[in-house]
């Protein structure tokens, strides 16, 4: 059972909906894919490993003997950090879910504005059709702050239907 959230906090509300999307999409027949997450983790952990190597050799060897190696490691760390930033900003963007149902691939981007009880979702399919919809959060949360996943599922299902019926 999900935990109640503070419905006056749009960031908390948005995070709760985002976390429930994989289950909702699974019930709608979609299988989640993790290419973007895996790529991000790969770049991120490569960056952290470079820093760890730099730290270890700094502790094991005399500074003057390893300056060249440290320069290479610092340069590599900087390049990987830029790639990671670029990946998050321009590749992953605000995509919180990607999944497929047979040959159909769907990506969900979500966002919100501070102090507005509106959850915005953009659906993108593999035919490059997009649909942006807004959800008033009181439609899927009850007064105690519990997410009504069945209502959310119905809303997402409606958006998917609208997207599939949409002409490019």
């Amino acid at each position: 059972m999900s935990k109640p959230v503070n419905v006056y906090s749009i960031s908390e509300v948005s995070q709760t909906i985002n976390e429930s999307l994989p289950d909702v999409m699974k019930r709608l027949g979609y299988e989640e894919t993790f290419e973007l997450v895996d790529q991000k983790l790969l770049i991120g952990y490569s960056t952290a490993i470079v820093a760890a190597i730099s730290f270890i050799i700094d502790k094991k060897f005399v500074h003057d003997n390893i300056v060249k190696y440290q320069q290479i490691l610092v340069g590599t760390y900087f390049v990987l950090s830029v790639i990671f930033w670029f990946f998050k900003k321009y590749v992953e963007k605000t995509i919180v879910y990607s999944g497929k149902n047979g040959t159909e691939i769907i990506k969900l981007k979500t966002e919100y504005e501070e102090n507005k009880p509106i959850y915005n979702m953009t659906l993108i399919d593999n035919k490059k059709k997009t649909l942006t919809s807004s959800l008033e959060i009181n439609k899927v949360f009850n007064s105690e702050g519990y997410l009504q996943t069945d209502l959310l599922l119905e809303w997402v299902k409606q958006q998917l239907t609208t997207l599939s019926n949409k002409k490019k």
């Binding site: 983790l41 991120g44 952990y45 960056t47 760890a52």
Partner: protein, 169 residues
């Protein structure tokens, strides 16, 4: 448990430490010193520097000038010393070798008794860690507190652990 979500959370923690460390390492390379940031541990440079001041060093200068505040290390002693250059001699022939005599502003005498191996001067290239180019007052006091109080170290680690656990919630 979603392993990817946990890995992403742990990655954020890795970034906190790695970015701080790599900033320090980058500064180390740019300033050409193995220890570019030091904390003042004694009152020997008062009133210029107090215990707990954080000092930023630079070691790309060929010579130190009389009046510069330098950080040096004595062989077989781990703790760097922050004192002012009192006298200097440099040779234009001997590959620019420079010898320095230092003294703490708040000390009565010079540092010769502190130098290792009965040396009477410091070698700029071998002994000097860097010249002080900037400082932040008092902010390093937490490191002194942790180093001098064994319970403080555990308190700090406990605080960090609790903060990270609550943060995950």
């Amino acid at each position: 448990m979603n392993i990817r979500a946990e890995l992403a959370k742990f990655l954020n923690l890795c970034f906190v430490f790695s970015s701080a460390y790599m900033f320090w390492q980058t500064y180390s390379i740019v300033a050409d010193t193995h220890s570019p940031i030091v904390v003042v541990l004694s009152g020997s440079m008062e009133p210029a520097f107090q215990r707990g001041d954080i000092l930023f060093l630079w070691n790309r200068n060929k010579y130190s000038n009389v009046g510069d505040i330098v950080v040096y290390e004595v062989e077989d002693k781990q703790i760097p010393i922050v004192h002012r250059v009192l006298r200097e001699h440099h040779s234009v022939k001997d590959n620019g070798k420079q010898l320095l005599l230092t003294k703490g502003d708040n000390n009565a005498g010079n540092d010769i008794p502190l130098y290792a191996g009965k040396k009477t001067y410091l070698n700029k290239n071998k002994d000097i860690v860097g010249t002080v180019k900037g400082y932040l007052p008092q902010l390093g006091y937490v490191t002194i507190w942790v180093a001098e109080n064994k319970y403080a170290k555990f308190a700090l680690l406990g605080f960090l652990a609790i903060t990270s656990l609550l943060g995950d919630e």
